[in-house]
Amino acid sequence: MRRASALARWLIPSLVRANRSLVILSVLGIAVFGTLIPLASDTADSAATTKEGLGAAVLRAIMISPSIESDAPGGLFHADDLAEVRAVEGIEAAVGWAPTGIEVSSGSTTVGPFLTSRFSPLQPPVTHGREPVAEGEILLAESDRDELGADVCAVLPARHDRYVSENLREGVAVQVTVVGAFDDAFAGLDGEDVAYALPEWVDSIRAIGQGVPADEIQSRLEYLEIYAVVDSADRLSEVVDELRGRGYVAGGLGALLSAVQPVQAALQMAKVVLGALLVVFLLVVGGGAAAALVGAKRAEIGVLRAFGWRRGRVLWAFVAQFTLLGAVIAVSGATLSALGAALLALVFPTGVFGLPLVMGITADSVAYFSALLFIPPLAFAAAAVLPALRAASIPPDEVLRDVGR
């Protein structure tokens, strides 16, 4: 087989030249496949599961409700409960949740969202402007901002309640600065028709509305729920157990993220389908090129057969040749793919469409890259088998000009 392997090696450059367009197309196909599919898939996986990803906080989030045995008045939370939750090992951040009403006006238009403490990990991301960082700064829903015709940084008159008596409240005029907006198409944990502000400011407005003096906020102000984020998804169940052990009703919110798994499954399926298409493409390209080569080299193969080349040797020469061609395409495509990924990372250092680009050496990426290197040679070898069998069956008397067949 040594000579057959040498023939395969020697013919590679001319084979590449003769099939230039198909080779380029195959290389580009592998490069695009190699760059975009894992990028999209890994980025989506990352977005859903890693700490930095979009879905990460929800997967690490816990909703805490008061136990029926809770000694909190009315079964609600107070500041000391919030402090206890924050002190549990593994809790990264926690916020007490309870909305209050506010009216924001601009000209003759008024909107009345529920003002809620901003806890960005579990709430819709800011689409315009920035997060509120001071008292009096609010994030409005896009629909409310449009209705009010308010630009980012607009200072608008607003009103909230002040406690007068059990059955009576009066309006208090304040000014709010619209520092940003969020897409209210994402109805989150807070429900619809909300606005966000700093938790401390929301608490102070609620205290005024409930008639709680400022120095008693810590002891008297109540929260309906506490939302917390654990520092690692792996510790979620451990922290939940700890909170349950302390008498809280706690549960992870990851189950609410029902869209993540179907999206991941769809991307996996897309990867498989596109991979299958690529293999079919390589089979067609390889088979076509092999059939053309065998047709063009019939006379030369006849000479080899006349010299005593056995069928197996001819078969090997052609299968090896196309395996090598597949390897050339695979290495070129994979190299181009790596360069493409590096270029994307360079051009989009912070990510694409809000998704962070994830490219690293992981077990999955190594397996994927290996598949990218092995599939084209195997596909080309498989594609070359039939034409090579035809070549191997060329009789040795083919070399004779006319034997009266």
């Binding site: 010299f307 004779l400 034997v403």
Partner: protein
Amino acid sequence: MIELIDVSKTYGTRKVALHPTSVRFGRGELVWLSGRSGSGKSTLLGIASLLVLETTGTVIVDGQKVARDDTTRNLVRERRFGIVPQAPRLFAELTPVQNVMLAAPSITREDAERALGLVGLRQRAARSVKTMSGGEQQRVSIARALAKDPDVLFADEPTSSLDDANASAIWGILRDAVDSGRAVVVASHDPRIAGHADRRVAIGGL
């Protein structure tokens, strides 16, 4: 060295390519197989070189009857015979040396260069076959057949498309092969061989 006893070839049930024929080819002679088109000279060459399986008769090489199986015949061809087809049928993408090396696994680069030297092409051994003339390509083809130092050289119309100068060069090379102790069997209707052949075998009569 090679003896064909009453060999014939029939394709299908009716198409007779060669009527029963007996002939011997010995070392040190250049035998010219002549005959009209369709007379069966190529078929006889094919049977003698074990490329064509005879329908009847016996092929004997060095006193041994050759079995009819492919493996045996491939082995004898590979080890003992060199074949020069009418058209060189070289791999145009390869160099002359590479083409010559394909004739047998045992042929080294040095062997190939030596064989190309025998046909006067040593200096062009590493150039592209594509750039060579028809005569030069035919000489490479002969070098390919000679490289494994065969006992018998079979040539099928080796000069049919060559001019006098190239044809003369080819006959000279074949003559040298005979003088070095080989048997050379040439099927040809080219009358220019007449002065170079030691013996003429006319298939189907003169």
